[in-house]
Subunit: 317 residues, 2 copies
Amino acid sequence: MVLAVDLGGTKIIAGIISDGQVIAKERCPTPAEEGPQSVISRLFSTLDHILGIKGMKVSQLDSISLAVAGAIDIKRGLVTSSPHLPGWHDVPIRDMVREKYWVDTFLLNDASAAALGEHRFGAGREVSNLALLTVGTGIGGGIIINGGLYNGPCGSAGEIGHMTIDVNGASCECGNTGCLETLASGTAMAEEARKRIARGEKSSMVGMVAGKIEEITAEKVGAAAREGDSLALDVIAGAGTYLGVGMVNLVNIFNPEMIVVGGGVANLGELLLDPARRVVKERAFRLPAQAVRIVPARLGDEGSLLGAAVFAREQSR
Amino acid sequence: MVLAVDLGGTKIIAGIISDGQVIAKERCPTPAEEGPQSVISRLFSTLDHILGIKGMKVSQLDSISLAVAGAIDIKRGLVTSSPHLPGWHDVPIRDMVREKYWVDTFLLNDASAAALGEHRFGAGREVSNLALLTVGTGIGGGIIINGGLYNGPCGSAGEIGHMTIDVNGASCECGNTGCLETLASGTAMAEEARKRIARGEKSSMVGMVAGKIEEITAEKVGAAAREGDSLALDVIAGAGTYLGVGMVNLVNIFNPEMIVVGGGVANLGELLLDPARRVVKERAFRLPAQAVRIVPARLGDEGSLLGAAVFAREQSR
């Protein structure tokens, strides 16, 4: 059994995984603003709690596997930095967990874990090469090549959200310019909607937030779009188009059989994926564009947990 | 022994490769404008010629390996399209060569071949993960992952020059928008120099072409830069900066140990690579940015030949 954790900027999800099944799951909010020490204390209490609920001892675990929303130094087990976890710089979380629980512990990026999960148990079971994008507050990425997770020599590979697609664009929190994330994430969609409303465009979103435009989120954009709000639909189509531009880059460089789109914003479904597919068909090289399938993720928030468990098993061998 | 061919838009180079050495080499111009039939006739006569010079029979060859400057359908042995070879659409060149010479024949992209060549015999011998860019008339690419050429399921992977880095940029011949190739290739440099001279900027390049601005090529830009011409230096630095933006994308997504830069324009050396390195250091994720080495190719025009021979040997196994 593997105790897997998905540690993100808003929530910590812990799951006990046995034979590719999540047999117990706990979630709690991440006290991200309080810094690494608080987050790690909360992580420990969440792990203690899930073990307690199931009446399990640490000795029953094969390993603990941590999927964290940040840049990872896989060899040294560090979270080197994270836009979602303020104050995290070279935090040796793998060894901190290992030393507390005295069990083999592994660390990888959350979107890499989701890619592995979707590949083994979800949308990507029948392919050997895929790219996964998690579109939420930011845009994460993971890559499966020849049936295995591609982490790169440092373990930092897969930052698909941080490719420049607009060299003259806005600065990104990562230090780069015009990243895909700045144009196609949930944050980018909400910002675009707020900006256009502030400029005078009409939208049902204004009523939803009782005029408090600053409260418009990607979820609100999605809700308005489902009710046919034309500004919301247009904002989502715009983000989908940018997402498609990022996918063209992946298709031309990687020739993946599949691109899986997960994360909160992926709930928008075809509203987001249709424009992305159109851009890929129009702009990418013909052969790989015909070959790639662009599909939603299937495993929701269990993708990262299941993938983290697979990673731990494969690393333990 | 492998008879390897590098078929580009301007020249055909054929080489006989034995034990990783080019033991004979022939080159002739590509009659690209005359279309596929003429190019293939010229290819046949080049192959006949080099065999004749060496007094060799086809039966002494293990295989023929074709590295072609175009998009490849590796399973069917087609050149599906090529910006450098007008009129080439789904040309079954692999089988045409196989049927003429009655010997095992293989086909791959020329920059992929160069990546394999540099990995086995050139700049990338000590690493397992690298990306190669050939910067010339266009920008080609090849990827080595875990010590092997990564072609992708269709065999079309590696088109690094055709990633969008300026979503609002110019159309590219490939059908995409704002590709790296439109901003950092030799063609782009020459165009930028001509445009700025036409706008009234001073440069020693004007004298080099006796006032015929349309005759300014990337070679002329390079020659002027070496003599200290400030416009030429600025144009090259600009292209190097864009090249760096493309490299940031590779570093964030792939985490390669090395990026190798080959092709005609790579002769500019540090003038081109220094600004690229600076951008990578400034903008890419810290860990993979520190890890990557950005170096010139070492094998010149023999890289593709040697790599094509390696590809044929590995495919034959």
